[in-house]
Amino acid sequence: MSRRASGFRAWVFQRITAVYLGLYFLFLAWYVLFSAPTSYVEWREWVANPVINLSLLFFAFSLLLHAWVGTRDIIIDYIKPLMIRVTMLVFLAIGLMGSGLWTAKYLFLTITSV
């Protein structure tokens, strides 16, 4: 894919994920403010609900994609030396993927183990 097309794809991804993140964030804020879990069992049961579990996983995925596109833009704009730029992008990618895998692991464990 050409550079222009991949830039356009990132632009579209950024906006689609933004809409989902915005709406889901309002839902999460509502949950934390008005029905925050008071016990481990309650918290775990909420996360183990299939709809919640899947939508949380999608939230995490959208967040990482959104964070990658946005931070990549910032790094490309301000960090000019190529080696430093690439190093920062690599650390960013590792950090985001690590966070994503960690989150996915616990979301998955919550529905599989009792």
Partner: protein, 132 residues
């Protein structure tokens, strides 16, 4: 055309900074802060789901005053990022593009995010004071 010899004038203290520019810079800054918080929240989510002890640990951790200060910064970040993001999306759909409304909405976004954060800070301080 030789573009290398054009004057570059990027002194932030000299160039004009309308509220739209300030709001836009804060959109980036808040986004960067939120990205830095991602590993932290992933970690907290993990240990809180691990077992009873992990949940208690996460609960105790989140109620510390320093963490509350960090969380407050993130509350402002997410408010500003969300509100200015909605504004940018509307502008993508040609809503609020003219100079007057763009300036007006930039003020609304910046002041609303800061104001709501301030109110939340006061409420949180009140709760902390009441608890001790």
């Amino acid at each position: 055309m030789n573009t290398k010899s054009r004057p570059v004038h990027l002194n932030l203290f000299v160039i004009r900074m309308p509220i739209m520019a300030i709001m836009s810079i804060l959109h980036r800054a808040s986004g960067a802060l939120l990205v830095l918080a991602i590993p932290y929240f992933a970690y907290i989510l993990g240990i809180s789901l691990e077992d009873q002890a992990g949940f208690a640990l996460a609960q105790a951790h989140l109620s510390g005053w320093f963490v509350k200060l960090v969380l407050l910064t993130l509350v402002w970040s997410v408010l500003h990022h969300l509100l200015s993001g909605i504004r940018f999306l509307l502008i993508d759909f040609d809503i609020g593009v003219d100079k007057i409304s763009a300036k007006y909405t930039a003020w609304v976004v910046t002041l609303l995010a800061a104001g709501v954060s301030l109110i939340i800070a006061v409420i949180a301080m009140d709760l902390l004071g009441g608890a001790s």
